[in-house]
């Protein structure tokens, strides 16, 4: 008589906690690790190849920006890769819809509903210079703070490259 109802109560509580956690992480904010050195020195500044997963930076991703998809130049965003929806990338928004962005070879117009993203570490970053502008619908959140490691806890500032973008 006692044990099944206790198990059932525990199961109900776990399910409720799970649903609440999932909803909070979808609607408000979640904490994710950043892999790779494409955003160095903003994230993962130590570019040794033996970067194990414990020393990755952990950041706060806010989801409130997804209500109306209004972003600013210099925002760091998390988005699903246009070539593989299962992968997520972290890059900085350099161009918004309507902007003209200068790359090495030419000047690209960012179409409506898209953004131009680049990693802070231009030398080793696969970004819009390879796969083109990214539809804003693929954006999954905006990174506002670094939460780990403790010596670099703080907010992530907007950085705007000079003389490369012309807004309409």
């Amino acid at each position: 008589m006692g044990t099944p109802s206790v198990l059932w109560n525990v199961a109900k509580k776990c399910f409720t906690v799970g649903v609440i956690t999932l909803t909070v992480s979808d609607l408000f904010a979640s904490i994710v690790p950043v892999r790779g050195a494409s955003m160095s020195p903003t994230f993962n500044p130590k570019t040794n190849s033996l970067l194990d997963s414990l020393s990755d930076d952990r950041v706060l991703v806010e989801k409130l920006c997804l209500r109306n998809y209004k972003f600013s130049h210099g925002d760091v965003i998390v988005f699903s890769s246009p070539n593989n929806h299962k992968e997520k990338h972290v890059k900085r928004i350099v161009g918004l819809p309507g902007d003209w962005v200068g790359t090495i070879y030419d000047v690209v117009h960012v179409p409506e509903g898209h953004c131009w993203v680049e990693g802070d570490n231009s030398a080793s970053s696969l970004d819009s210079r390879s796969f083109g502008p990214v539809p804003l619908g693929l954006v999954k959140g905006r990174i506002t703070h670094i939460l780990w490691p403790p010596q670099r806890v703080g907010s992530v500032d907007r950085k705007i490259p000079q003389n490369r973008v012309s807004s309409s």
Partner: protein
């Protein structure tokens, strides 16, 4: 006794908020009304479709399916179109080609190119024709 009531109310309000949240979720089907780009399959006014959000995550999406996607031209809008081709020779990896059934008025992949798979939000699995007129008729009779 009072604690029980408050706890029950807290639980009910949390589940209400979770279920009715406006953001996309994994488990919740949604209903929506559409325009003329999917004639004659779905009509201009008053069609409501039920969209399930699991199949595309499990990879169970193929050509011929009706899908709800986030528009690549405006992230605040969603479109309902048919998947005409999955990735392959003509369609790049990680993308699909979508078209509305009413080719004359539909703005789809013929206009904005192949659609990244990540923009797909769900698969349409049920439709109710004339839903708007059914609902407004019902409301009229009630008042």
């Amino acid at each position: 006794m009072e604690n029980h009531g408050r706890e029950a109310m807290a639980r009910a309000s949390i589940s209400f908020a979770c279920y009715t949240s406006p953001m996309p979720t994994y488990y919740r089907p949604t209903m929506s009304v559409l325009g003329p780009s999917m004639l004659p399959t779905l009509s201009i006014t008053g069609d409501v479709v039920l969209v399930e959000r699991l199949s595309h995550r499990l990879g169970k999406l193929g050509s011929g399916d009706l899908v709800r996607v986030r528009s690549p031209l405006d992230p605040n809008k969603t479109l309902t179109k048919r998947v005409v081709a999955m990735e392959g020779d003509k369609v790049p990896k990680g993308h699909v080609w979508i078209q509305g059934d009413n080719l004359y008025v539909s703005r789809d992949s013929r206009h904005f190119g192949p659609l990244p798979y990540g923009l797909i939000e769900g698969k349409v699995f049920m439709g109710v024709s004339n839903a708007k007129s059914i609902v407004s008729g019902f409301v009229h009779r009630m008042s």
